[in-house]
C-alpha cells in the first residue's frame, strides 16, 4: 500500500442488504453537514446513490476501502456474498443500523419457516429472488463486524460521529457508537419511575391517554428502556412513545427478550397464576415485542424446527 499523506481522503463504501431504506435516509438526515462530509471522503461504492456495480467493486484491491457502512439484515445468499466481498475490500466494516447490528425487524420472519414467508408474501407465483437463507441473520453472523452504529434508524448524531471519526482517522475497531448504559439513565422521564410500582394489567399505547411527563412503566405501558442501550437521545420518549429497543441490549444483557422478561416480571402485580395470567393478557405478542429488533441475535435465533404457528 502507498504511504498515506496526512490529508488523504478516506475511501468509503456504503450498501444495503435486506433493508427498508431508513438507514440510507439516516445519511440524508445529516442535512447540510452531508455536503461537508462528502467533500472529505472518497465515496467509491454506494449503489442506492450512484452507479454501483459489483464488477467495479471487484476491481478494488483487497483492503482498498478504509471503511464500509453496511445496513440491512442478511436474508439471501446474495447478501452473504456481498457482505463477504465488502469485508474483503474494507479495512473496517461498520454495521449500520439495527438490522445489520441485531438482525432487525426483518428478523421476526424467523418465527416462521422460509417457505411460509414466501408463500404468505407471494403465494404460488413468487418473484425470482436470490435464494433465501433458512433464517434471517445479523451482519455479525456472516462477517466480522468492527464497529456498530445502532438504531432503527440511527440518529444523525451517531452517523455523523462515525463519519467524522473516519475522516479524522480515529474510527476504532470494537466500538458500539452508543451509550453502554440503559436508556432510562438518560431518559427525560427517568426520575418519575418509582421502585415500588406494580402493574395489574399491561395496557397498549392506544388504550391509554398518555401522560407526557410520566414514566411509561408507571402508566402500565411496556417500555424497553431498562434493557436497551441509550444514546438515541430518547427520541421516541420525547415523541410520547415508549422505547421498543432498537439500540439493542445493554452490555450486561445477553438476550433482550430474556432481559425484558426479567424486568417486566418484577413489575407484575399478582400472587397467583390466575392473577398473573390476567395481568399478562394485556400484553400483546410478547415475543414480537421483546425481540422486535433482536430475534436473529437472541440466544434462540428463531423458531424451532417443526410446524409453524
Amino acid at each position: 500500500m502507498k504511504s498515506r499523506p496526512a490529508r488523504r481522503r478516506p475511501k468509503l463504501g456504503m450498501t444495503w442488504l435486506s433493508s427498508c431504506g431508513g438507514c440510507e435516509e439516516s445519511i440524508l438526515d445529516l442535512g447540510p453537514d452531508l455536503a461537508g462530509i462528502l467533500g472529505q471522503v472518497d465515496l467509491v461504492y454506494w449503489p442506492i446513490g450512484m452507479d454501483g456495480r459489483m464488477e467495479d467493486l471487484c476491481k478494488v484491491p483487497d483492503g482498498g476501502l478504509d471503511a464500509v457502512l453496511i445496513n440491512g439484515s442478511v436474508r439471501t445468499e446474495e447478501h452473504v456474498e456481498t457482505a463477504g466481498l465488502l469485508r474483503q475490500k474494507a479495512r473496517i466494516v461498520v454495521a449500520h443500523g439495527s438490522c445489520a447490528h441485531l438482525g432487525g425487524v426483518y428478523g421476526l420472519a424467523n418465527l416462521f419457516s422460509r417457505e411460509a414467508v414466501l408463500e404468505r408474501s407471494y403465494g404460488e407465483d413468487g418473484p425470482r429472488l436470490p435464494r433465501l437463507l433458512d433464517r434471517v441473520k445479523a451482519l455479525g453472523d456472516v462477517v466480522k463486524v468492527d464497529v456498530v452504529i445502532p438504531g432503527c434508524p440511527p440518529t444523525p448524531d451517531r452517523v455523523r460521529e462515525a463519519l467524522d471519526s473516519l475522516i479524522r482517522g480515529t474510527l476504532a475497531r470494537g466500538a458500539v457508537l452508543a451509550d453502554d448504559r440503559a436508556l432510562c439513565r438518560t431518559c427525560p422521564r427517568g426520575e418519575t419511575r418509582r421502585p415500588d410500582t406494580r402493574i395489574r394489567r399491561f395496557r397498549r399505547v392506544h388504550e391509554a391517554t398518555l401522560d407526557p411527563d410520566l414514566c411509561f412503566l408507571e402508566q402500565g405501558i411496556v417500555c424497553l428502556g431498562p434493557v436497551t442501550r441509550g444514546g438515541c437521545e430518547a427520541r421516541c420518549v420525547r415523541g410520547n412513545l415508549p422505547c421498543r429497543g432498537c439500540f439493542g441490549p445493554v452490555g450486561e444483557v445477553k438476550d433482550q427478550g430474556g432481559g425484558g422478561v426479567g424486568f417486566l416480571a418484577a413489575l407484575l402485580e399478582g400472587a397467583s397464576e390466575e392473577e398473573l395470567e390476567q395481568a399478562l393478557d394485556g400484553l400483546a405478542d410478547p415475543t414480537g415485542l421483546l425481540y422486535r429488533y433482536s430475534l436473529p441475535s437472541s440466544l434462540f435465533g428463531g423458531r424451532n424446527e417443526g410446524e409453524g404457528p
Binding site: 468492527d146 466500538a175 432481559g259 414480537g288 441475535s297 440466544l299 435465533g301 424451532n304
Partner: protein
C-alpha cells in the same frame, strides 16, 4: 451438552427418547428434597442435570433461554412453597418470570410443558421423584426440542463498547 445425549436406551426393544432436563434447585428446599429422595432409595431418572442455586428467584430468564439453546429438552425450576421462601418472595418472582417466559417461548416453538415450576419442600423426597419422573414422561411424549442452530452472533463478532480491539 449434547442434545438428547442418551437418545436411545441400550438393550433390546424400541428406542426410547431420553430427554435432557436442566433443573434449577433451590438450596433450601428442593436440594434437600432431592437428597431425601436419594436417602429413601427412590428410583430417579438419570435425565436431570441439577443446578443448585440459593433461591428459585435467582433463576434469570436468560439462564432458562441459555439452557434451551445449549441443548436442554426441558427446564425445571424447583422452589419453596409460597410463603416459605427463605428470602420472603423469591419463589414468587420465579412464578412471575415463568408465566411471562412461557408466553415468550410459545411462538419460538417451545411448548409450555418444556418449562415447569414446581414447589418441593425440604422433606418431600417422594414429591421430588414424582415431579422429575412426570416431566421426563411428558418430554418423552413431546420428543426432542430442535432449535434452529442457536445464533452464532457472539460478542467476539459483535463488538462491545467495553472491549477495545487493536487494529
Amino acid at each position: 451438552m449434547e442434545r438428547g445425549s442418551g437418545a436411545t436406551q441400550s438393550g433390546e426393544g424400541p428406542a426410547v427418547f431420553e430427554p435432557v432436563i436442566v433443573a434449577f434447585l433451590c438450596n433450601w428446599c428442593a436440594c434437600e428434597g432431592a437428597d431425601a429422595a436419594g436417602r429413601a432409595r427412590l428410583e430417579l431418572p438419570a435425565n436431570v442435570r441439577p443446578v443448585r442455586l440459593l433461591c428459585s428467584g435467582r433463576v434469570d430468564p436468560q439462564h432458562v433461554l441459555e439452557a434451551f439453546a445449549c441443548g436442554a429438552d426441558g427446564v425445571l425450576i424447583l422452589g419453596c412453597r409460597p410463603g416459605e421462601c427463605r428470602y420472603r418472595e423469591g419463589n414468587l418472582h420465579a412464578m412471575k418470570r415463568v408465566a411471562l417466559l412461557r408466553r415468550l417461548l410459545g411462538p419460538l416453538g417451545v411448548e409450555t410443558e418444556r418449562l415447569d415450576l414446581e414447589w418441593v419442600a425440604a422433606g418431600e423426597g417422594k414429591r421430588y421423584a414424582e415431579v422429575v419422573t412426570g416431566m421426563v414422561e411428558s418430554l418423552r411424549a413431546l420428543g426432542p426440542l430442535k432449535p434452529q442452530s442457536a445464533s452464532t452472533h457472539t460478542t467476539a463478532k459483535a463488538p462491545d463498547a467495553r472491549t477495545k480491539v487493536e487494529l
